[in-house]
């Protein structure tokens, strides 16, 4: 007896092409016709880009530590954040600022974090959202745990986690897929495939056609979209989140995009990739195409664009000022490292806190 007992596929979706034209033939999501909403999401994408550029500049001038730019990822990140409800739970990696901004995290929170101050993680967004997560892919299991908590408590809440193309190789992500399958969790696992994990290209993570197909390991619906197309990315998120919320279990969404920046400000991507490749990627970047589309629809023009840019610059500057003011005038105390180790500080830590108070670093904080 020989029989095919299971078959699977991965579909790819792009609705707004690289020029910002609506694909024909395909069934176009309603969002594409909702130019008001598209405009507001475009505004957030733009604000994020302005913020990002500023943050890199702050690092260059010694006002911020290492910073992970999100340049080029704005559509993917806005799609993730805007598809969620407040009560849903976001478990980010470290560069999904636009998703977090949508959820209420402040730009100054991001600056605090990369500025080396723990208070950044006590951000203004939903208190149940997870902090930034540097150990790659671990956040996927935190999201799975959150999803299980919601399921056990019968709450119609969804957990969403983002992982990179690199992170999708890690057991944590793969075990999260398995957990999602085991418990039919209200979970959405998003792979933001920006083609690079620091210097390691996507092709070295594995030789499979897609990363989305990792979801098939758990029998999860798995889809790949153009992550520079806000409409496709958001549409895939809406679908996945609805399924999760309605008890139909988890999905994997792979968003294809490109890291237009260095990995972080500590990296120099020229060492390992060709400028040609970056130039080509710029032709596909998400802001231009959405702007072109909105312009074609008669909903956007140069004047609005310039207003938006200057308004964004102002907001970013205000955030920088807030950040600077806080670290200058309201720094964490010397013993901040002790105060949240435990609810009830053990005795020996009280002793050590005394030492710390007695011997502050010369020159104080940095």
């Amino acid at each position: 007896m020989a029989a095919t007992i299971a078959s699977f596929k991965v579909d790819y979706f792009q609705f707004l092409d690289e020029e910002g034209r609506l694909a024909d033939g395909a069934q176009i999501p309603a969002l594409a016709r909702d130019t008001r909403q598209l405009e507001s999401l475009y505004r957030l994408m733009t604000l994020t880009r302005v913020f990002d550029k500023k943050a890199v500049a702050l690092q260059r001038t010694g006002k911020l530590g290492t910073y992970a730019s999100c340049l080029g990822h704005e559509a993917a990140h806005v799609a993730v954040g805007s598809a969620m409800r407040e009560e849903d739970c976001f478990a980010p990696m470290y560069r999904e600022y636009a998703a977090q901004f949508f959820r209420g995290v402040k730009m100054s929170d991001v600056l605090m974090y990369w500025g080396g101050d723990e208070r950044g993680n006590d951000f203004s967004g939903p208190k149940h959202d997870f902090p930034w997560c540097v150990p790659i892919a671990t956040q996927c299991l935190h999201a799975a745990g959150a999803a299980l908590a919601y399921k056990l408590h019968g709450q119609p809440r969804v957990a969403v986690s983002v992982v990179g193309d690199g992170g999708s190789s890690k057991g944590d992500f793969l075990e999260a897929i398995n957990a999602a399958s085991a418990w039919k969790l209200p979970l959405v696992l998003v792979i933001v495939n920006n083609q690079w994990a620091i210097s390691v290209p996507r092709s070295k993570q594995n030789s499979a056609r897609t990363l989305a197909q990792k979801g098939i390991a758990g029998g999860l619906p798995s889809v790949q979209v153009d992550g520079n197309d806000l409409v496709a990315s958001r549409w895939a998120m809406d679908k996945a989140i609805a399924a999760a919320r309605e008890g139909r279990g988890a999905s994997v969404v792979e968003m294809l995009t490109y890291r237009l920046s260095d990995h972080t400000t500590a990296d120099d991507a020229r060492r390992y990739r060709e400028q040609d490749e970056v130039d080509t990627a710029w032709n596909k970047e998400p802001l231009t195409r959405l702007r072109n589309y909105l312009t074609d629809q008669g909903h956007w023009d140069q004047v609005k664009e310039e207003e938006l840019l200057s308004e964004s610059a102002e907001r970013v500057n205000a955030a920088v000022a807030e950040y600077q003011d806080r670290i200058d005038n309201d720094p964490q105390p010397i013993d901040a490292m002790f105060n949240y180790m435990f609810k009830n500080l053990p005795h020996h830590l009280e002793e050590q806190r005394e030492i710390a108070r007695r011997f502050p670093a010369r020159g104080g904080q940095h």
Partner: protein, 326 residues
């Protein structure tokens, strides 16, 4: 009031706290209908249902990571690693996340998880089933490491561990899971974390230990007594942080200290205690501080394991060594 064993003390505490606190869930491999390979969770799924006692897929990274996620969302998971030797995949989530969540978020989130595991050697178990790895956990800031050594301490300390709003690694000395029976009232009274228990008063030498080694150490105290030596025995119980006050106080009295543990010597918890004494108790010491420990080798397969484990004889010998000094 029933006479129960140490492992039954664990079960009793779990049942008590699951009854009292609906956010407590038990999470691990074979913890459900099977009640755990040592029966520590026996009957709990039957009583509380399978959404309170969850059998997980076989994936320890997942278990630890999902516990962090659940705990951050208001639950109190009590995770079981089937044996301490299978906790290693949990290190990353315990160290990089559970132990840091409160700190990282300035208290916005906390992580009240208990990571339980049967721990230590001496039951003729297969390979990788007999480690004593408390020092691994004890060194990481942000997580308590607690080890009961009697039925009542299993009950009282586990209650405290579950109620504690911060993560606790709770290591259960499997060799003495069923050694002793003790009357334990299921009154929900916890025992304090972060303190030592003085199990026996003495004046000549302080024997400091924890876990299953309490058995040999108490035996050694009896042996010593036969030769007119009065040994004080301290069960450290919480090995991170350590209640050094109690230990220093004892050594002030006895002037001699022997530390006993089953784990390898090098950088074991015994080193920390000796170092604490070499700082804060040094003027009271009449003799070198001796450590009687497992060797810095792999725990051998079962046919040789008793050659590895500290024996009563070795403890007595070390105590006598300290008694050579006046």
């Amino acid at each position: 009031m029933a006479e129960i064993t140490l492992v039954e003390g664990v079960t009793l505490a779990l049942a008590h706290e699951m009854e009292a606190d609906p956010t407590v869930v038990v999470f691990g491999e074979d913890v459900g209908v099977n009640g755990g390979v040592f029966r520590a969770t026996a009957g709990l799924q039957q009583k509380f249902g399978d959404d309170r006692v969850l059998d997980t897929p076989l994936a320890e990274v997942m278990i630890a990571g999902m516990c962090v996620g659940m705990a951050a969302q208001g639950m109190k998971p009590v995770a079981e690693a089937q044996f301490e030797g299978f906790m290693y995949p949990m290190v990353d989530h315990i160290v990089n996340h559970a132990a840091r969540l409160r700190h990282r978020t300035r208290g916005r989130m906390n992580c009240p998880v208990v990571f339980r595991a049967p721990w230590g050697g001496g039951i003729h178990a297969p390979e990788h089933h007999s480690d004593s790895n408390e020092a691994t956990w004890a060194h990481f800031p942000g997580v308590r490491t607690v080890i009961p050594s009697s039925p009542s301490r299993a009950y009282g300390l586990l209650l405290a561990a579950i109620r504690d709003p911060d993560p606790v690694v709770f290591l259960e000395p499997k060799r003495i899971y069923r050694w002793q029976r003790e009357e334990v009232e299921d009154n929900g009274e916890e025992l304090p974390l972060d303190v030592c228990f003085v199990l026996r008063d003495g004046t000549d030498v302080t024997l400091v230990t924890w876990g299953a080694m309490v058995k040999e150490t108490m035996e050694a105290a009896v042996e010593l007594e036969k030769n007119g030596v009065s040994a004080e025995v301290i069960d450290v119980a919480t090995v991170a942080p350590i209640d050094m006050e109690t230990i220093v106080e004892s050594v002030e009295k006895t002037g001699r200290c022997v530390i006993v543990h089953e784990a390898p010597k090098h950088c074991g918890v015994g080193g920390e205690i000796a170092a604490g004494l070499a700082d804060k108790g040094i003027w009271h010491l009449k003799a070198p501080i001796k450590r009687v420990t497992g060797y810095d080798t792999v725990m051998p397969l079962y046919r040789s394991e008793m050659n590895y484990m500290p024996s009563t004889e070795r403890i007595v010998h070390a105590a006598n060594e300290t008694l050579e000094f006046e």
